[in-house]
Symmetry: D2
């Protein structure tokens, strides 16, 4: 299978390449970068210099996709990963589809079903609203049936992946609703901010420091609400706060629910264990075990645990993922596996790199 990666030199693009490097039967034939076109891939990404299959790859200009298709159709990818900036996929995805390839989009551009939400959360009118209905939200645990038929997969955001998987069993059972708020206190490693040099991502700013950001609104909020409301079949009252952790990779979510409005704790545990019993990439942790981001580093796992604060009557759901893997690249490769009819786990790393 021929694969293309648009935006190959960013953190998510290179994370996709890192996983594809060891996926059997994968041929990466096109890699692009607007800023570094013409350069050898492994000159830009020296950490991938040992992968024989990447030895000859040269970064191309994404403007040249049509030309490549025409002049060298045998090299043209069947599936593209769009690992570009938010808003850049709006125009890119229709081009990919028009060229007869499928697209797995790692931006937020096709995750929301309502075009009206884009100006609110992404500060831009959607450029291809006609594709929103067709795009499939690529969270396999929720949309496994639809993904294989999709031309355009909207790979979920990192925070939403963690939060939705943490709450889906409750939502599906109608246990979430507008009456009682769901508090989602989330924390992310700095790689989530991408490779662009912005001041808050500097080592000297982020290291030995911790703080919240976008406290009154983050673009991942509507994605969480959309998917969970869909499951719950009613509106939700969900409050999301992201924080920046001085670490490279990892997302942790600590979620708070009013236990007094829920079934007994052991019943909820049973619900989670049952819901995820056959999901190989969700690990419901044994009672008392606290999920740690290091336990999922480099993998596609989402670890979930449940705790009851009896004194305050609060149910705490604690979960972790690797923001660049399950929150981006490895989930995208799972989606590749699904759209190409392969085993869902083909090439997906199982052993976390810890420490």
């Amino acid at each position: 299978m021929r694969i293309g990666v648009i935006g190959a030199t960013g953190y998510t693009g290179s994370a996709v390449l890192g996983i594809l490097a060891q996926r059997p039967g994968t041929e990466v034939t096109v890699v692009t970068s607007r800023g570094e076109a013409g350069r050898a891939l492994t000159d830009s990404l020296p950490h991938l210099a040992g992968v024989p299959a990447y030895a000859g790859l040269v970064l191309e200009d994404p403007a040249d996709l049509e030309k490549i298709r025409e002049t060298d159709p045998g090299r043209f990818p069947e599936v593209f990963f769009l690992a570009v900036s938010h808003r850049a996929s709006m125009a890119l995805a229709p081009r990919i589809l028009a060229l007869g390839a499928k697209a797995i989009d790692l931006t937020g551009d096709f995750r929301l079903k309502s075009a009206a939400q884009y100006p609110v959360w992404y500060k831009a009118e959607h450029e291809s609203p006609e594709l929103l209905a067709e795009a499939v939200y690529g969270l396999p645990e929720l949309h496994r049936a639809e993904i294989p038929r999709a031309r355009l997969v909207a790979n979920p955001g990192c925070y939403p992946t963690c939060v939705i998987l943490s709450l889906a069993p409750l939502a599906e059972k109608g246990l979430l609703g507008p009456d009682s708020p769901v508090i989602c206190d989330c924390k992310s490693g700095v790689s989530g901010a991408g490779k662009s040099p912005v001041p808050s991502s500097l080592f000297s700013e982020a290291s030995d420091n911790f703080h919240a950001y976008k406290v009154t609104g983050h673009a991942h909020t509507p994605e969480m609400i959309q998917e969970l409301s869909l499951l719950a079949r009613r509106p939700l009252r969900l409050s999301f706060t992201p924080h920046l952790v001085p670490m490279n990779r990892g997302i942790e979510a600590t979620i708070y629910l009013d236990a007094e409005r829920l079934p007994p704790y052991q019943e909820i545990r049973g619900l989670y264990e049952l819901r995820y019993a056959s999901e190989r990439f969700v690990r419901v942790r044994p009672e008392g075990r606290v999920p740690e981001t290091a336990d999922v580093r480099g993998t596609n796992f989402c670890d979930v645990a449940l705790f009851l604060d009896e004194g305050a009557g609060i149910l705490k759901i604690v979960s972790v993922i690797d923001n660049l893997a399950r929150g981006a690249a490895s989930q995208a490769v799972v989606n590749l596996n699904l759209v190409s009819g392969e085993d869902e786990g083909l090439g997906i790393p199982l052993a976390a790199l810890r420490p």
Copy 2:
């Protein structure tokens, strides 16, 4: 003024010494360490080797306090900092008082008013319950009137300092109560775990990692509830979850309240600004500014900010302190200032070391 530091080589003890090093009129005459008695102080703590006043100090055995009092009364301290392990102050404090000195206790041993709580939260019967009523909880913003008269000051825990200061203005106005939960999601740097080599404090475990701990119960919980209930004059439903951040110093609290049960946001902002207008060590941050732990590193400040999540109807209170400074050593020195009739800010660092 002659000062003693019991447990001088731990993180809180050496942080106290670091601050006293530049406090005018301070003479540290006794430093103790059970494990390192007989050693020069600056041999154990080479980072303090440049302080002239510490040049001749030798670590003594805390068992020898009575002997020092007897043989060398002119050297015996007027005030002691107890920077020992939890449960060790229970027996130590009465000895200090019996020797005619005052004690500022940095452990949890005299923070709770009810002796019955100690077996629950500290896994031990209290050894000196008769002192619990006398001990003053050393949070100056709450107990400034009582501290100067105290023989025994219970210096607050790090998490409670941050949480109580964040909620006191609401509690005092009767805006907290048992009906609606207060969610306190807190994060701490690793120095909070102390200098004892336990596996979870190892660099290779804590670095590039993030996780919650003691999710169903942490000994700082009753302290928060005690002080806030006292202010609110009714019970509270408070849920506290601590997390470990890969950083040395700092605590952040993100606190969630149901905004629908509270006065309008701008009214609450006004309440905080008024409450802390004359408090030099609490900075209510201007609207939109998110507190960062690096902004208080090495100082006694507590930075507090308020945010309204309109979509979910949640009030978010975000605050930060330095766990070893405001959460331990610098607050203890403020208490020293109060018990000795000095200006509250004498010797207290004002400029954060950032980066």
Copy 3:
């Protein structure tokens, strides 16, 4: 092929398990831990809980190896990894060999050819000196011919792997000798110190800190000198200084040689390129590219670069490895591949996890 891991819960043992998890045709049948015998493997190492093959493994007591061999010979491993503390393999290796299995030893116990060196560097008489001659030093680039025939492979130390690969091309050409010193300034991540909770490995000690250690003598020194002298066929004057870096994984070596005693710079570059042209796990970096430890994280690569300081007449050789991978676990699995006649790269990760 049946594999055993002695000391499965330490950092090198679990790193071996992490790599074996994705090596085709590998069956781990015995895992041991003195301290945690009886516990499920994935209970001790929750980051490996998603590997189906490890689901049923229970940690056993290493004292029981003979019993396992007797009662369950079909489960007994053909090859063991000894991932224990220094000095523990001295008695363990002969037991493994006597049971008919091969041993890949990750300690320093069989690396030095002279039994007389052990009391000097490892503070203990060797318990099995008769095996020293037989043990093969498992650096494939130097001993590829001997490893396949070995019963006992002494997997190289982390620092020596980096230093020896950096200097072998010069040593082999007789360009190193006793006249001019070789200065090896090396830096390591904290995981090199292992999982034992010692004070200097605490996060609060190692983070935001940097320092040398064992400045006048580290047990890896004789290993470097032994192998390089062997190649050079004469004694060497080599000075090694290790430093501790606040990072999890990685070793960097900056090596200094008097350029005035060496052939011209471009000739030396040519020498390195030729020497390593067919070595898949050594990357001689293009001119001007500085090796970074993050570029080899999780992989078996050693990246080497050469620089000429013209002003001072100094040749600088800069190299990096991952201390837990090339410096321990992945090199051990390469040795497994060699002793079992497999392709040298079977199951060895090629793409670094960066960031």
Copy 4:
């Protein structure tokens, strides 16, 4: 004394302000920033918001210095700190002097005596070569006699401060010379790269990573050679290699010399102890104690230790400073003390913030 800080919002400028905040008798009357002129100082630097003296300061445009002098002479500073980018002081310093004030320059612009060196190392012709002879190199241990009379102090670079102090006792005794190379392997925290968002300073690039940089030439090299040659009264063969450490603050130097060309080790120790016996900011560490950057964090100390590698015949000098304090801001304030006739240690922090 009225003080001005040009470039107040960068890391060195704000570090100067942090120290001045607690220096008695200091009135900061002018702070400038090209990019943030018009903003309140504590809006840009919220970590200084608790310093009463800074409450009313507004960032001004450095172009307005003459106007301030004219319209508000009573506010015009007597001494300015120039905490700007390299090459910006070349034109700024003569303006300050022309306005009748003194300048303590934290850039490299007046450190080298030979104008011819600037195009080589700073890639620019010097704009004020006439001031080079007048400028005094502000390393108090070497130039204490000249600094008080200087109008323009060239505050030393961070690496040179550490290296020169480590080698001065040998250079002064004629023990350094052109025959034998001095190898200076140095490591710095990321704050040394400043606050400009460049990719290599990103958290996700620098964290859990270690690498050398500018391996064939760094602008601090000529500064080291100039000062040490001056002491030695002959040329030197000095090789300097900087490395980037994932930490905020700190510089470590490990320096290698051929012990066979030097007096016996104990004699050299004696030389260092004697040389620095009356220097309050240089601590010659007791035998066997390895300097750690955390031991000097936030202070003006340079810790130096000597080790003999007997096997290789190498003398190792290991030293540490805080790059933003002794390597920039606190040394600059010591220079302020000297030019204003105050005690050298006025306002200089003595207790390191550790952890």
